[in-house]
């Protein structure tokens, strides 16, 4: 009889299922920032509620798992008085969401200096990847999909982007997402099956790790370091 590690493909500590309690069930693409934005809160307000302590213990605010539950209290209405003949300025508290991407080539070197076009919800901006092959731009918390085109000669490369869809590294889908982003293709959905083990083996071979196909602690750590999240 195989042990649990062999069954689920992981020898590290895992937390497979949803966590948390509350009146909102996390959907694919959600993170605390998008949930808070949709419900009129700062994400820190929700994150620090005692009712969300279990979620906070097990998750990062920006990497939730579909099915996790979040407690969202009723919105408190605040009234402000201001003169009718004067311009009133209200500033939204909190920092904007950010998209942080870095691009590496097949030798794991930064693809620095490449011009890019980033399209999010129909709006296109241009820029150049920084010295680390990265970009760091503000995005709306509810931005869900986009794409980035890298101006590579002779064939420009386009990468569709699915914001907020990176699952926790404790889940099979989270491991799949990270492997896919790093170029080790596997289906984005699915459990700890042969398809995922194949991608893990490829990753292990490329990183000089014993190619077992199992997500041992060394492999998990290398994957998180490689993906940087």
């Amino acid at each position: 009889m195989p042990n649990d590690a062999e069954i689920d493909g992981s020898s590290g500590s895992t937390n497979q299922g949803p966590v948390g309690q509350g009146n909102y069930e996390v959907q694919p693409g959600d993170c605390m920032a998008s949930i808070a934005h949709a419900h009129g809160f700062l994400w820190q307000t929700l994150w620090n509620l005692p009712e969300n302590a279990e979620l906070k213990r097990n998750r990062q605010p920006n990497v939730l798992f579909p099915g996790d539950c979040v407690t969202i209290p009723p919105v408190r209405i605040r009234q402000e008085s201001s003169p009718t003949d004067q311009l009133a300025k209200f500033q939204l508290a909190g920092a904007p969401c950010r998209l942080k991407l870095r691009f590496l080539d097949d030798k794991q070197e930064p693809r620095s200096g490449l011009a890019y076009q980033l399209t999010i919800d129909g709006q296109t901006t241009s820029g150049t990847l920084d010295g680390g092959g990265g970009l760091d731009v503000p995005i709306s918390p509810d931005a869900s999909q986009g794409s980035i085109l890298l101006n590579v000669e002779p064939d420009p490369e386009t990468y569709p982007l699915n914001f907020g869809h990176l699952d926790p590294d404790s889940s099979a889908t989270g491991i799949r997402g990270r492997l896919n982003n790093l170029g080790f293709a596997c289906a984005s959905d699915g459990d700890w099956d042969a398809d995922l083990q194949s991608a893990i083996k490829r990753f292990q071979l490329a990183n000089d790790i014993q190619p077992t196909g199992q997500l041992d602690d060394q492999t998990r750590q290398a994957l998180i370091e490689g993906h940087q999240s």
Partner: protein, 292 residues
Amino acid sequence: MAEVGRNTTNTVAKAPITFAMIELADSADCNTRKSQWLSYGFKDVTPMFGKQSSVPSLNGGMVAKGRDMLTQMKDVSADWYMVSGHHGAIYGTDYGLFTTNGAPDGTRVVNEEQYCGFFNEAYHESYWEHATRTDHDPAKLPGVPANAIYVRTTDAAPESIAAFDQDNPLFDATSWAPAPKGIILSACNTLVYRSARRAWCTYFPNAVIIGPGARIASGTWVANAIAGAAMTNEAFWRDPQSILDQPGMCAELEKQLAQNFPRKKGIALIYKSTLYLADGRSMPADSPITPK
């Protein structure tokens, strides 16, 4: 599709592409392919020989090292494999086993022969030319049967009718290795045998498999056909599945390959258990082939 988190750093990288080669005869095709793949930055992970500038043929003095290489091949998990050499029925005399009204029947051979594979020159000159299913004693054969290498391309390994090792390291590798992106077969009639197509599809259900469906006279025929196909650019070698999964692209690739192949019906491809032929037909790879 990159699935990215908001407010966290995400990395989008190209995985290093690796390839491995088995050459059992003329090295020209393998060397051409190796040269192009290296120019893209791909890595040759062929055991023992991957760091050499050219691909050695496993003949003569290379046979002993070649056998070691084949044993190690199952551990490399390459993205692409290329196998080159002679290819045919396990014995030349097998062709006489399939007749219709007393005459040899080529259609029956390709559809019914259960045992075929790649082999080197020593095998060709000894077992293939002179042995039979019932008489394959190496002591009786001319040539150098001790140097014979045979790599089966069928699932069956008939010990009872052969006196030599038949392990195909690629087939063995699939018991644990990741599925490769593709396999290039450079030899006569690699995809014409139904039993070979069945085996390739069974072991590599998602790989694109390119190979001749006819005899070839030169070790550069396959290389030239690939080089002349507009689709076979770097993006194709990196991720053929994302291209061939699109409607019509397999037929288009087959058309482009055939344009530069000297024999009209000479090169074929298999993708996800469908066989594409140069005459425009496509069919389940497990189907018998009938003359058009």
